[in-house]
């Protein structure tokens, strides 16, 4: 095999490229978990809805991207809020496991609804020129998406941190994450804050969906499944509930995945298995993830 320094550096760049996309998805996962203690397994499917929304706005209705992107975020946020209203809110007082099982059900429902509504065949995503090509840095190639995704991710994480730590809504979210009942007693409209959380998480999924379909220019109803699982893994590896951790976890997963293929080409078919093995490893050795704090028992 040909393992020059050049190849290794390019593989690292490939890993960062893929990892950036996982990061973007993982922060949405981790945010909903951080506030509601709910693993929203439908997050990957919301991501798919985001990608399709952008596909229809741009590819079918021919709206320019500067309208389509915010509109996609908005529409996907509405979808997220609707999912919460329809599937999770009725179970708010039930044990957490009910919401988790429902999330799996919602995920299957969206995937199959997608198959019925848009059909099983993938469609090509129209990619704007800034994202379609790649930049040459000496002997290395960096896809356009890779330049923008980390910038976008950092901006979004920054905005999220400001929102969570500097605004009243953020304070309500943090309070909710501690104790829903106590927060409700303090006069906070809990359902509204939760809707707000789902709207934000889903808008993040939409951003991830758009970027993903720029990097891999196609959309199909099942496209959210694997990225969803990988992002969940990234969120756990980074420390679920921790936004910065999710970002780091995403890059770790991306690099591990690419290096698996790069170093052991005959095992490329098992790349997902390596990623999920990493998930198992973390759950065994450090269940709170890279940046997670040890869990405190609530009194």
């Amino acid at each position: 095999m040909n393992l020059s320094l050049e190849v290794i550096v390019q593989q690292l760049l490939n890993g960062i490229s893929l990892g950036g996309l996982y990061s973007l998805l993982a922060i949405g996962y981790t945010m909903v978990y951080g506030i509601l203690r709910l693993i929203n397994f439908a997050h990957g499917d919301v991501f798919m809805i985001g990608a399709y929304t952008a596909f229809f706005l741009v590819g079918v209705f021919h709206l320019p991207w500067w309208i389509s992107a915010p509109l996609t975020a908005l529409l996907t946020a509405l979808v997220g809020v609707t999912i919460d209203r329809a599937a999770y809110r009725p179970l708010r007082e039930e044990p957490r496991i009910s919401a988790l099982i429902t999330a799996v059900g919602v995920s299957f429902f969206i995937e199959n609804l997608g198959l019925v509504v848009v059909g099983g065949r993938p469609r090509g995503m129209p990619v704007p020129p800034a994202f379609a090509g790649s930049y040459a840095l000496g002997p290395f190639r960096v896809p356009g998406v890779t330049v923008w995704v980390p910038v976008l991710t950092l901006l979004l994480v920054g905005a999220l941190l400001v929102l969570v730590y500097r605004t009243r809504a953020g304070m309500a979210m943090r309070a909710l994450s501690r104790d829903i009942e106590a927060t409700r007693l303090m006069g906070v409209d809990v359902d509204r804050v939760i809707s707000y959380t789902f709207a934000l998480g889903s808008a993040l999924a939409a951003a991830g969906g758009i970027m993903w379909s720029f990097q891999f220019p196609q959309v199909n109803p099942l496209m959210g499944i694997y990225p969803g699982w990988k992002a969940f893994t990234a969120a756990v590896v980074g420390g679920i509930g921790n936004v910065v951790g999710a970002m780091i976890g995403g890059f770790v997963i991306g690099i591990v995945e690419i290096m698996t293929v790069g170093l052991m080409p005959h095992l490329s078919g098992y790349r997902d298995a390596f990623v999920f093995a990493l998930l198992v490893f973390f759950l065994l050795v450090r269940p709170t993830g890279i940046l997670g704090e040890p869990m405190k028992e609530k009194v």
Partner: protein
């Protein structure tokens, strides 16, 4: 009084006669085990479209009985394909099954039909293993050793390539088979396979594999996979600066290749089953005209081969003079020079003897390069 009874009797006998006629014209049920959703939904949907066009083109009947199709979606999945075959045979009591379209699924569905002694025919299942040692499993297309050999010769002789790299879908028996037959012939001719990398159906990121391939400095990228993976890999290859020509197999043949691949698949060449210019018999021309009129699109290989599969089954029923599945299978084995929508077909040990067509994508359109006869 008498007249009333007589008319009642007459009405009664008419009713009996009508039922008798209906009984005689009881439809022949043929199962369709197709990829309507999932990874290769384009093939199943195109196949189904081809059969519908054939229905518009001619009255589908045999032994004076109309044909009724029972469609089951196998979701491009092996297990679902096996279940679909089971269901069509046991519940729907079909006399023959058409599909699945892809080899991996046929390897799962074929043994079930074989055991139940009901003929099953894959319109585009090119992997040789699907029919090996079986007398109820058929195909309407050529086999991969032939296709791989032609691809290798085309690369070596016509393109003048000496260093080839392979990117192979390990989850598909079709892709693995084709890659092996290509590599064998290409090295026998004196060429060198400088890199072999693997992917799995459904993967989207191939940057690691393509980086390794670029480092091996090939003159050609051979990707005998299905269209979704080919398109995504082509896009990423170009982004990584891997600008060598791409050669693929019949799996490249779907509108999605161009839709997803865009400029990256421009110039891509592939070995396949079909081009509207390749076959000139009257039935082929009639099919092309009907297809254009009914769908407003250009005909494709998978629709044509699915239509051919129907024609092969109906021809066998007529020659057998029976709708007994065993008799149909025996007659299918004897298919000789049958006129179909892709020229003429002869069946040998379950395999169709057919020419390979080579095409190239120029300005988003398939250009016809050559037909290679077996």
């Amino acid at each position: 009084m008498n007249r009333k009874i007589a008319s009642l009797l007459l009405a009664g006998s008419l009713l009996v006669a009508a039922t008798a006629v209906a009984g005689a014209a009881e439809p022949i049920r043929i199962g369709l085990n197709l990829e309507m959703t999932g990874g290769v939904a384009a093939y199943g949907q195109q196949g189904y479209e081809g059969i519908q066009v054939l229905q518009q083109m001619m009255k589908l009947e045999a032994l004076g009985r109309p044909v009724e199709f029972v469609l089951v979606d196998n979701k491009s999945d092996r297990v679902e394909s096996a279940n679909a075959a089971q269901r069509l045979i046991q519940r729907d009591r079909v006399v023959a099954i058409i599909g699945p379209m892809i080899s991996g699924s046929m390897l799962a569905a074929g043994p079930i039909a074989e055991q139940a002694r009901v003929p099953i025919i894959g319109p585009s299942t090119t992997n040789p293993l699907t029919t090996q040692g079986r007398s109820f499993v058929f195909r309407a297309c050529f086999i991969d050793p032939f296709q791989g050999q032609i691809a290798a010769r085309f690369a070596y002789d016509n393109l003048g390539v000496r260093r080839a790299a392979l990117l192979v879908d390990v989850a598909q028996d079709y892709a693995v088979g084709l890659a092996n037959f290509f590599a064998r012939e290409f090295t026998r001719l004196g060429g060198q396979v400088v890199a072999t990398q693997y992917l799995k159906t459904g993967d989207q990121d191939f940057s690691a594999q393509l980086t390794a391939i670029r480092a091996a400095n090939p003159e050609l990228l051979y990707m005998p996979n299905y269209y979704a993976e080919i398109a995504l890999a082509a896009v990423q290859a170009r982004r990584l600066g891997l600008d060598v020509p791409i050669l693929a197999g019949d799996g490249a043949d779907a509108p999605e290749l161009v839709q997803i691949g865009g400029a990256a698949v421009e110039g891509l060449m592939h070995t396949g089953f079909y081009h509207v210019q390749a076959f000139s018999n009257p039935l082929a021309q009639q099919y092309v005209e009907t297809f254009r009129r009914v769908t407003g699109k250009e005909p494709n290989a998978f629709g044509a081969l699915a239509a051919d599969s129907v024609l092969i089954v109906l021809d066998a029923i007529r020659r057998a003079g029976s709708t007994d599945p065993e008799a149909i299978a025996a007659a299918m084995q004897q298919t000789r020079d049958l006129e179909v929508t892709t020229g003429t077909v002869t069946i040998q040990n379950g395999d169709a003897i057919k020419p390979v067509v080579i095409r190239k994508l120029v300005n988003g359109q398939w250009e016809y390069l050559a037909t290679v006869n077996p």
